[in-house]
Amino acid sequence: MHRRLGAKMVDFGGWDMPVEYSGLIAEHLAVRTGVGLFDVSHMGDIQLRGPGSLQAVQHISMNDASRLQTGQAQYSALLYPQATFVDDVIVHKFSDNDYLLVINAGTREKDYNWVRSQAARFDCHVNDYSDYYTQLAIQGPRAEQTLQKLTNADLSNVKFYWFTWGTVCGLPNTLIARTGYTAEDGFEIYVPSDVATSERVWSEVLEAGREFDILPCGLGARNTLRLEGALSLYGHEISDSINVFEAGLDRFCKLEKGRFLGSDALQAVIAAGGPERKLVGLEMIERGIARDGYRVLDLAGQPIGSVTSGSPAPFLKKNIALAYVPRAHAEVGSEVAVEIRNAPVKARVVPLPFYKKPKKQAASS
């Protein structure tokens, strides 16, 4: 189906994924100004159910799930004892005894095995529901208006990072979450994964969004959108050799909830005076594009770090990057250089995120 729409495909961690359909920049701008549709079925879904499910979640996930109300979700991460990342995750509370973790595609099997083994001592069942769901993301300022045409759920009552259930495209009990990976308003819907249903829903969303010039969007735009929002990508900003404080994800890590996997190591980092290196945002000052893996240099030409993700930003119209640098170079305003094809090109440390979605207006037109 994606190929029929003219998608350029690529292998992404074993999945055959569309990189772009009509063009990366057009797709990126559609999400920032109208609405875009993503097939994100490669994401994984792990369910924890039972009287001990909250305890299990609290043990493996760094955020505080006890603060969630039914119908609410939170961004978090699963940590190794060393406080490095197994994966980042969105935790959804279905009920006191029922939680859904939505995780990344490339790490699905690893995550599932990890959750199963770490949750084993708690009174709960762990189930991998990934293959049951096709996950579609409808993102952009017009996402609510688009999806509202297809559902009886009142989307205006679903706040950001909350979810509900409703009939979508005639499918009852469909999970509708106001979440996403684009730093824009939007929804993710979870529909049965048989090909006929998935394709029908995809087509109906495109039809509903037609008046808002909806575009199907691929992995290329997905990456530039999340980069503008400074959202982490596993294997880049977060990995099993990077800790929570280095990655700047402190605000999602609630040490005050009590001990959990990784909390001891984090206390040790605090006791040692904080992380040695920090994730920063860079904006190119001189002409050039910083890309993943490029070295970061100080102004004397010494290597001090590297770019984790870098690209032109289609909406901001700047060349931006995320990079790890030593603490001393991490202050906003610091000047560094990025080594681009053997030449140093100047960049400046800027505040994160690069882009923030505009506050909702009282009356949507």
Binding site: V19, L24, G220, R287, I289, R291, S311
Partner: protein, 129 residues
């Protein structure tokens, strides 16, 4: 796609239009289509020497960098400065948006490159369409 008959082509998807000792170089329509939106062009310096088959610059799309390989050897006599501020001109018309002009050190190098029909066949084989 119509590839100009008076151009010659390389397997790296550059074109060269040669008349006498003067050569004009760009990338093909197939190249710009594969790259997607071009956002950055790194031009060689006027006066620089280029060597057939060696890198003389690069073009970048949002997601990737692509080296440019000189179709023939010579000295750069002019570069298309417009491309520093409007790289998308290459997407709009790749066969008109020249990148550099060179004085050929060995015009016979050009004769050995692909003709328009050979290049078209090569692209069909490479891409399957």
């Amino acid at each position: 796609m119509a590839y100009p008959a008076n151009y010659r082509y390389t397997r790296e998807h550059e074109w060269i239009e040669a008349s006498g000792n003067a050569g004009t170089v760009g990338i093909t329509d197939h190249a710009q289509d594969s790259l997607g939106d071009i956002v950055f062009v790194e031009l060689p310096k006027v006066g620089a020497k280029v060597e057939k088959g060696k890198v003389f610059g690069s073009v970048e799309s949002v997601k990737a960098v692509s080296d440019l390989f000189a179709p023939a050897s010579g000295t750069v006599t002019a570069v298309n400065e417009e491309l520093t501020t409007a790289p998308e001109k290459i997407n709009a018309d790749a066969h008109a948006a020249w990148i550099m002009k060179i004085e050929l050190s060995d015009p016979s190098e050009v004769a050995g490159l692909l003709s328009a029909s050979d290049y078209e066949a090569y692209v069909k084989e490479e891409t399957g369409h």
